[in-house]
Each structure stands twice: as C-alpha cells, then as structure tokens.
C-alpha cells in the first residue's frame, strides 16, 4: 500500500488545492502517469504518481486545500500480486519487472535514507533510469510510518482494534475513533482509515470544486516574497558579468532560419539556453542544490526558465536535461513550456526539478540583470538585451551584436573563480553556434 501525498512543488510551496482527480478507485496507474491536477499559488500543476499500483481510495475532494505531505489517495498493489507484502519490505514493492542493474544512489539519497531508516534496496526509484531520488526516500519513510509493525492488542472492553500510529494520528486530526466503522475481517483501524475520516470531514465543509487555476496575485506575490527574502537572507550572492559578442551566433541563426517555415525557426534565446546547459554540464559545481550545509550536484541539467506571467508574477519551470536536447527540440519544448506556464498546466516535475535557472529579461529591454538565486539552487544566469555596439575585433572597430551575460553565484557553493570560468565557457560556446 502506498500513499499519494500532496507533493512539494518547489521550495516555495507550503500547500496546494486539489483541482481535479484524473483517476478513480480501481484504476491502474503506472509510474509517471498524471493522476491529479493541483493548484498552487503560481499555476495549475499536473501531478504524476511515482509508483505503480491500483487506486484504492481518494481521500480528498476537488476544491480542498491541504498542506504539502498530506495524503491525497491510497494506492494498492496491482491486482496480479495483491495483498501479501512481505513484512520485511519497508515500502510497497513495485510490481512488474524492475530494471536489472541496481541503481547507484547519490550520497544525498544515502544520507537521507540513513536518517529516515529506509532500506534503499526496497525503494522504487522514480528518477531518470530508475534512480532513487530524495523524494522517493521521503515517500518510503512515510510508507513505513503509516504501516504499523504489529497491531496493538485490543484494550480490555474495547470492541475495535486500532494501530498505535493510527491512534496518535486520530488525536492529532481530531477524529473520533469510536465513530469509525471497523475494517472488515477483524483488521485494526489503520492510519489510512483515520486520514480518510479526517479528509471526509474536511470535504463535507467545502463547496463547489474549481477546475482551473484561479489567478491569485496576492498569493503569488506572497510565495515569491518568501522565497526571494529567504534567498537574500541565506544566500551570500556574488555577481559576475561579461559581454558576449553574438554576431557569429546570430548570423548562423539567421542563415539557418532563412529557409525554414516560421514554426521551425529558432530564437536567439534557444542558443543561449543550450550554451548555458552545456557549460553547466561541463562544470557541475554550479548545477545542483545547497542543502543542509553542503552542495549536492545534480546529475543532469534541468534548466529553469524564468517566465513572466501576464498579469504579474513569474514561474521558472524546468527544461529537462537541456544539455542533451537538440536545438530544435529545445526550442519546441521551450515554446511548449512557456505556453503551458502562461495558459495551461505545468507538470509537477517541471516545477520541482530545476537545477539552475536562466532569466532572459533582456527581451524586455534591459541590458543587464543581476538575478536572485532560487534556493536551494546555487546559481542563476541572466542574459541582457541584444544590442548593436561599436566593438573592437582584431584591432578594428566594427558594429557587433552583443549581450551582457551575468552570473549570480552562491558563495557558499562556489567561488568567483569557478563562476568566472563558467561564464567564459558560455561565451566560448556561443562563438561556435554550429556545435550547440
């Protein structure tokens, strides 16, 4: 049995509103399926499941706002291998074939597993190629917490049996255990039953469900305010800037676009994003997270793209594995991401995965942007407006198209030297656009 909880979609999220269930009890879901739509202060987000299974019970009705981590639904194992989970297995084991080679766990994941007492050999990895992520570990720990080691013997005179954790939870949630129908077959009341009862109480109090993201400028301002204040409070930023001659890159781009239909054309931003992603892949010190006093490099570059929303506010969802996307794919995915950020829905993984963010504020006319890092990321790259300037090349003055690239770096994670090499790397790559 696995619990599907309100996911944390980024460091700035504390609660979410369930907008819509895309599954119903009895449905079989596979890892990666979108099962629900959750509204955050910033956007409606499609939330994926990280386990295979059969939906047992939906605990929260559409329209309900719940804190991150609260159970939304329970998933059982697929019908073919039902019920008998070995007691040794601390989490719901996956069904179906698992990839043969055991995944290598990052130090970060191993540490978290130790802290939470989770046996990694039994955790289902939901990262790329089945890699176990920290979220998986957290989920596994929650699964342990909701599975009592053994049922508490019935108190004398009591008609119903209650698992210890369920009893504690009932107290916390204010659920009257005597009002619960005892589970069939003499099973004890478990945490899930208590949670379901608590959720139903909540559900009864809500009215019509919303089905779309309701723009709440104040709420968005609030989450941006919190996160940015935290960044400026905790992250010692250093700032670097360099002017990059884009003439070659733009000539190459225009030549390439000349014969293409509009839909296949690239914009300069695509080149800058790709160059940044490749530089970050080559210099992983700036690609990852600062957590619990140390830097945890990410294994792929999920480039966050700062997207301003019409009507105010911004989101910075991830372009997954941007360093390994062909330019045309990167361009297509960037357009899709921007369109969905502004009008439709983002995926949970897009919200929570960025490892390094790029802001392209230059498109609104500024020549230089000193960005604020999104914690727990450790760097942010900014590109200013592309302007024509008198520029010396090989001892001659000419008119060239240039942009000012900036790096905001977290001085806890890197020093200016590393940041300087990184910016220089981006510049070099933009001189060879055909290699991007």
């Amino acid at each position: 049995m696995a619990t599907f909880t309100m996911p944390s979609l980024g460091a700035d999220m504390e609660e979410g509103t369930l907008l819509e269930w895309l599954v119903k009890p009895g449905d079989t879901v596979r890892k990666g399926d979108i099962v629900a739509v959750v509204d955050t202060a910033k956007a409606a987000v499609e939330v994926e499941t990280f386990v295979d299974g059969v939906v047992q019970e939906l605990l929260v009705a559409p329209g309900t706002t719940v804190p991150v981590g609260q159970a939304l639904a329970t998933f059982g194992e697929t019908a073919t291998t039902a019920a008998t989970t070995p007691t040794a297995a601390p989490v719901a084991a996956p069904t179906g074939p698992r990839p043969a080679p055991p995944p290598v766990h990052s130090p970060l994941v191993r540490r978290q597993a130790e802290r939470l007492g989770v046996d990694l050999t039994h955790v289902v990895g939901t990262g790329r190629a089945g890699v176990v992520t920290r979220r998986d570990v957290t989920r596994a720990a929650e699964a342990i917490a909701t599975r009592p080691a053994r049922p508490e013997p019935s108190a004398p005179g009591a008609r119903i049996r209650v698992a210890p954790y369920a009893r504690r939870l009932a107290e916390e949630l204010g659920v009257d255990l005597s009002a619960l129908a005892p589970p069939p077959g003499g099973e004890p009341i478990r945490a899930k039953d208590v949670r379901a009862a608590a959720a139903k109480t909540t559900v009864a109090g809500t009215t019509a469900a919303e089905t779309a993201h309701t723009p709440r400028p104040d709420a968005m301002r609030g989450v941006i305010a919190n996160l940015m204040a935290r960044s400026k409070r905790e992250v010692p930023h250093y700032y670097l800037a360099t002017t990059i001659d884009l003439t070659r890159a733009l000539d190459w781009l225009h030549e390439r676009n000349r014969d293409l239909p509009v839909s296949d054309r690239l914009v300069p931003a695509a080149l800058m994003l790709k160059a940044t992603a490749l530089a970050a892949q080559a210099r992983p010190a700036l690609n990852g997270f600062w957590i619990d006093g140390s830097f945890r490099p990410a294994d792929q570059v999920h480039l966050g793209i700062a997207i301003s929303l019409r009507g105010g506010g911004l989101v910075a969802p991830a372009l997954h594995d941007a360093a390994n996307l062909a330019l045309t794919d990167l361009m297509a995915q960037m357009r899709d991401l921007v369109t969905r950020a502004r009008g439709g829905r983002l995926r949970g993984s897009e919200i929570s995965d960025p490892t390094l963010t790029v802001t392209n504020l230059g498109e609104q006319g500024v020549e230089l942007v000193h960005g604020v890092i999104y914690p727990p990321q450790v760097a942010l790259v900014g590109f200013g407006r592309i302007v024509e300037r008198p520029w010396a090349v090989d001892g001659l003055i000419g008119v060239r198209s240039v942009t000012t690239a900036t790096l905001s770096g977290d001085h806890r994670a890197t020093d200016g030297f590393t940041g300087a090499r990184f910016l220089a790397d981006i510049e070099q790559r933009l001189q060879q656009p055909e290699e991007l």
Partner: protein, 87 residues
C-alpha cells in the same frame, strides 16, 4: 506559395488583431496606438513574437521571413506590410 487574394487594410488589421488575440486573449486594442511597438506595448517576448508571425502567416498565407520582422513592429507597419505583400 499558393495564390493570394489581396488583403485590404481592414482585412489586414483584422488578421493582425486575431493573431495577437491568440497570444494575449484580452489584448486591449483601443488603447494601442497605431505606431506603438507591439513588443513593448503588449510585452511580447521573442517566443510570443514568433507565435504572432506564425499565426499571421498561417491566416493570410503570406510568407514572412526573418528579414521582414522589423516591418511587423506596430499596427501601422504591419498593415502596410501585409497589404504591400499582395501587390
């Protein structure tokens, strides 16, 4: 490119408005000056502008190259471009 019927200025204007509305559904054309830059008045970024060009080209059947982009800066220049293209 298929045969094109000549666009009148009014048709061109309507096509431009439709294309912009696909990107900014609540765009306010009443307060948009004829010579105001779309990019700054409507806060279009480069992807928005690309979508605008894409919509406009699809709706009118007119080929729009990158070198034509400066002609699509404002309502006035865009109308002139679209009606000129069909001479």
């Amino acid at each position: 490119m298929t045969d094109q019927t000549t666009l009148s200025p009014d048709q061109a204007r309507a096509a431009i408005r439709d294309a912009i509305r696909k990107i900014i559904p609540d765009a306010d054309f009443d307060s948009l000056a004829e010579d105001a830059s779309f990019q700054s008045a409507l806060e279009l970024d480069s992807l928005d502008f690309l979508s605008f060009v894409e919509q406009l080209s699809a709706a009118t059947g007119i080929r729009i190259d990158e070198s034509d982009y400066p002609d699509l800066a404002s309502m006035a220049t865009s109308v002139a471009f679209l009606t000129r293209s069909n001479q």
